[in-house]
């Protein structure tokens, strides 16, 4: 069902604006290195925002394949920053609990965020292990040689690094949460 307020919702997220200027030229899709994997490639995703196809788009895998390479952004003839729009769609998918289980990227992002919040710095090994435990522990086995290589080359410390004023950072982030998301 079409949801006419969807486009306003996207525009309300910082970076989501300017979407109304899209002329559907397809430069974004043509430039995207991962477009072949998207349920709805960038041009189509933008058309769906304007058509109000909210739940179909937010539950798709589309924006989760954006690698933030910004090629579409520098090429867009209307300066609408498709990369930022994809990030806004990701925020909305998470906020509304619409991302489905087959999308592993949001799980990884959440593990990353938890790690950054917990210590003030990202603990890469902990983040990776948590991600694989939450998605597919067997995939971790396949990647074991990569992890082992990093470990043996002293690139995967076993202990997290924590900032001194972690209390300060938590107070800032708690306040942000209380303010209820970016407007």
């Amino acid at each position: 069902m079409a949801d006419v307020s969807f486009i306003d919702e996207v525009c309300s997220i910082p970076g989501g604006g300017a979407i109304r200027s899209c002329i559907q030229c397809g430069m974004c899709t043509g430039s995207c290195p991962t477009a072949s994997r998207w349920d709805y490639p960038p041009r189509q995703a933008i058309a769906m925002v304007r058509a109000g196809l909210r739940d179909e788009l937010l539950s798709s895998n589309s924006m989760w394949f954006c690698a933030s390479c910004y090629t579409c952004t520098v090429r867009c003839p209307r300066d609408i920053k498709p990369t930022d729009i994809m990030h806004a769609l990701e925020v909305l998918a998470i906020r509304n609990g619409l991302s489905t289980k087959r999308n592993r990227t949001p799980v990884m992002y959440q593990c990353f965020v938890d790690s950054a919040k917990g210590n003030g710095r990202v603990y890469e090994l902990g983040m990776m292990l948590k991600f694989f435990l939450r998605t597919n522990p067997f995939a971790a086995l396949k990647l074991a040689p990569v992890g082992l290589g990093l470990l043996l080359h002293r690139r995967l410390p076993l202990k997290p690094s924590r900032i001194k004023e972690i209390g300060e950072l938590k107070a800032i982030l708690n306040k942000a949460k209380a303010l209820g998301g970016a407007k």
């Binding site: 994997r37 910004y70 990884m108 995939a139 990093l150």
Partner: protein
Amino acid sequence: MKNYSYFPGCSAEATASPLGLSVLPVAKELDMDLIELEDWNCCGSSPYGSVDKLEAACIAARNLALAEKTGLDLVTPCSNCFVTLHGANVYLKEYPTLKEQVSEALAMASLDYKGRVRVRHLVEVLYSDITPEVIRAKVTKSLKRLRVASYYGCQLVRPDGFDDPESPHSLDELVASLGADVVSWQLKAHCCGSSLVMPEQEVALELINKLLRNAQENGAQCLVTPCPLCQINLDAYQSQVNRRFKTKYNLPVLFLTQLVGVALGIKPDALGLSRNIVSPMRVLAPYL
């Protein structure tokens, strides 16, 4: 001596430790004083901005507020930290409501950000402030006949880089200043898949394979990049690419500062050369 506030980023302490290690002695040789930002926190990176925009702006802004107190430019060697911190800076200017909310949150830690910090990528500083000419004059071991493919990746040059976003030249000039032969190749600013390598490995391996093939076909003996994500994908995942596509790449992938360090005569240990997964020792042997 030029002074900068220095933001290493989380990777420089871990998966990109060869970067974290090599930046400091190189900076010293080039008369740059990189003063580590006291108690810096994770920039938030791309994932945070895809989960919660306000929290992402706040976690980046704590760093900007701390840096503002120093009065110095904030320099990071990490392309993802650069895009994130620079992007937060732009958003705080463009979205007054966001700025107000961030100020309210920062006040919880008695911090304030007025928007005066200039966020810069280390490569831009090396190129614009130090300049390839000065680096050339300091080279003690010219990398003559070493064929190097400069890999810019994405976030050094897009969306708001200092170089051409699709046909950049700054890294090539820096590499040329070391005496090396700059390999001309088409994919020098194409995407490696970045962090998708974890959740969507197949996509990333395909992109990494294209990059390695293109660099090799054009005669590269090694690649050089400033970006932690690019380096890990091309270096640590090279064996996975070989297994997946039945290829036989054995291409060392150095951080720019490692290569600069070799040319400046800095000892391999201080540059973390033994930490590269694909060993660069064979191709670098004539210069060590």
